[in-house]
């Protein structure tokens, strides 16, 4: 259909809105990254590429890059393996009510805000005094530990927490994907003598590649942005920055030390990393994201 007046009436205000709130901030942030920017000072010196040079020698920045990548790779891989497995065994169950029941239970943590559940974990699971983790250690005859002072263990705990908080989503998406594959393919392969695991890997997985690509890309994009749980578990980045990630580092640099110019350079780096990862994934998965 054609109706330029109507199109203009809808699109012009929306485009202006998106330019202000979505496009302009990217440019603005990039601009700030060339300055020694502090909102409280009256004069902000132009530094050119100085902030980016500083990135290269900033140890904390590289730790944050490493932790962000470790967090994403480990958590996304674990998430997909676990959720595929759970979705598969749930889809095998004979009764519909039972499927719904387990899916609902697994989804409940996704409904709750991450800050809230992280706080529950902080005290109830990993708390030094009476946390479940230390009680289990106690049962095995080991002394309690302060997990917030550990190094890699804290990051591992945050990964486990994130999986707990987030697997419900992908279980739901994958069960729908598995159920969307016609039964005939599966039965044909079974007649040919393929076992259940073989059938799952060679028949179901390729046939649900669209779901798989969608889930992998969304989960990865999502995990790069994880912030709230790091704020709760390790607001300062943990012991010797062992749980410092880029999002938290941007926040800390800009709103604790008000070094917004440098923080914007870190943000630009995060943007680059997310962009590169999205490109790689896009190539690998042949996901049809583009305009039809």
């Amino acid at each position: 259909m054609k109706n330029n007046r109507f199109v203009a009436c809808v699109l012009i205000p929306s485009v202006i809105f998106l330019l202000i709130f979505a496009v302009f901030p990217v440019a603005y942030g990039l601009g700030i990254s060339f300055y020694d920017y502090n909102p409280t000072s009256s004069y902000n010196e132009f530094l050119g590429l100085e902030n980016y040079k500083r990135l290269l020698t900033d140890e904390v920045f590289w730790i944050a890059v490493k932790n962000t990548i470790i967090f994403c790779v480990v958590a996304v891989t674990a998430n997909i393996v676990i959720t595929l497995f759970l979705a598969k065994i749930i889809s095998v169950l004979p009764s519909k009510g039972m499927k719904t029941f387990f899916r609902t239970i697994l989804f409940i943590p996704c409904i709750a805000p991450i800050v809230g559940t992280s706080m529950v974990w902080k005290y109830g699971m990993v708390g030094t005094d009476g946390g479940l983790l230390n009680r289990i250690l106690g049962l095995m005859g080991m002394p309690p530990r302060n997990w917030f002072l550990t190094t890699w263990q804290l990051l591992a705990i945050i990964i486990v927490y994130t999986l707990w908080a987030d697997i419900g989503y992908n279980v739901v998406l994958f069960t729908a994907g598995i159920e969307g594959v016609p039964k005939e393919f599966d039965e044909a392969a079974a007649i040919d003598g393929a076992g259940p695991v073989r059938r799952f890997v060679s028949i179901k997985l390729p046939l649900m590649s669209r779901t798989f690509a969608f889930v992998a890309i969304m989960t990865m994009a999502n995990y790069f942005q994880m912030f709230a749980q790091f704020q709760v578990f390790a607001p300062d980045g943990g012991r010797s920055n062992s749980a410092m990630v880029l999002t938290n580092y941007i926040y800390k640099t800009s709103f604790s030390s008000y070094d917004m110019g440098y923080a914007s350079a870190v943000a630009a780096a995060l943007f680059m990393i997310v962009f590169i990862v999205a490109m790689i994934q896009n190539k690998m998965m042949h996901a049809d994201w583009s305009y039809e």
């Binding site: 929306s14 800050v115 809230g116 529950v120 998406l173 994009a221 994201w289 305009y291």
Partner: protein, 277 residues
């Protein structure tokens, strides 16, 4: 034949047993939160290994209400969620409709630009957005959460995908009958994408109810905060008061969880539709 049936059942029992244990583990943190919220602080200190409260008490809930403006946080959260969700449903379906059903110059470029804005993580733009909100004099007001949320690129994308599936012939027929573009939107498009509207609404409401980053950046005063930010502030101010902290956390989470359990069919349907699409 009979034997085969038996083998099947066995393997189901194993799965059910496994899923039951797994579900119990998944539920433990939530159950711990609820139980702790009904304990007194002395009870928490003395009976560290006990799961159930020695004596059930709503002391924690009372403290939470007395020491923090929880009622105000609720009102703020609900206000943001209702206004933003209503706005996003209208803007995303309207803009999605234009992209799905109208031909105009620069359509492709605009749509790609729209998709590109979806790719930018909110943390990348948090500094400029914070500065802009200050410039606009929205800082420390509920408007700082509402105004930037009125249009959502992701929701437009979703709406467009669904509206594209509404047959063109329906729109053409309405046009021949003399319906204007807005009339077609209202009486042809909207009634045909009700499930999509539901899932866009659910997504938007959940995201805004749970949002922590934006309130953290944009709000300063206790009375202005939404629930997730309020909870964190409450926790830092009352470190030793586990019972009240968990009571506050329970009050924040339980409404959403109950709504979810009641409407879980619609939730799951909406989610999978957006996912498979």
């Amino acid at each position: 034949m009979k034997k085969k049936k038996n083998v099947y059942k066995k393997h189901h029992i194993v799965i059910i047993a496994f899923l039951t244990v797994f579900s119990l583990i998944m539920m433990y943190p939530m159950a711990w939160m609820l139980m702790t919220s009904f304990k007194s602080n002395a009870d928490i200190q003395i009976n560290k290994t006990k799961f159930f409260p020695e004596k059930w008490t709503i002391e924690g809930y009372r403290t939470a209400f007395e020491k923090a403006p929880i009622a105000q946080w609720f009102i703020n959260s609900i206000l943001v969620v209702i206004v933003v969700t209503a706005a996003v449903i209208i803007t995303s379906t309207l803009i999605g409709y234009v992209f799905a059903k109208y031909e105009f110059k620069g359509k492709k470029v605009l749509f790609v630009l729209l998709l590109a804005t979806m790719m930018v993580p909110p943390q990348v733009t948090m500094i400029p957005r914070y500065l802009m909100i200050q410039e606009m004099h929205l800082f420390n007001t509920i408007g700082a959460l509402i105004v930037p949320g009125l249009i959502s690129a992701f929701s437009i994308y979703m709406a467009r995908q669904f509206i594209a599936d509404v047959p063109d012939s329906l729109c053409e027929a309405a046009k021949i009958d003399g319906a204007g573009p807005f009339r077609i939107y209202w009486s042809v498009i909207l009634p045909n994408i009700k499930p999509a509207i539901g899932s866009i609404g659910i997504f938007t409401a959940m995201m805004n109810w749970n949002d922590y980053l934006n309130p953290l950046l944009m709000l300063n005063d206790m009375e202005k905060m939404t629930l997730p930010l309020g909870l964190v502030i409450f926790d830092t101010q009352r470190v030793a008061d586990m019972s009240a902290t968990m009571a506050a956390a329970s009050m924040m989470m339980m409404p959403m969880i109950i709504i979810f359990v009641v409407f879980q069919k619609q939730f799951v349907k909406g989610m999978t539709m957006s996912g498979i699409k």
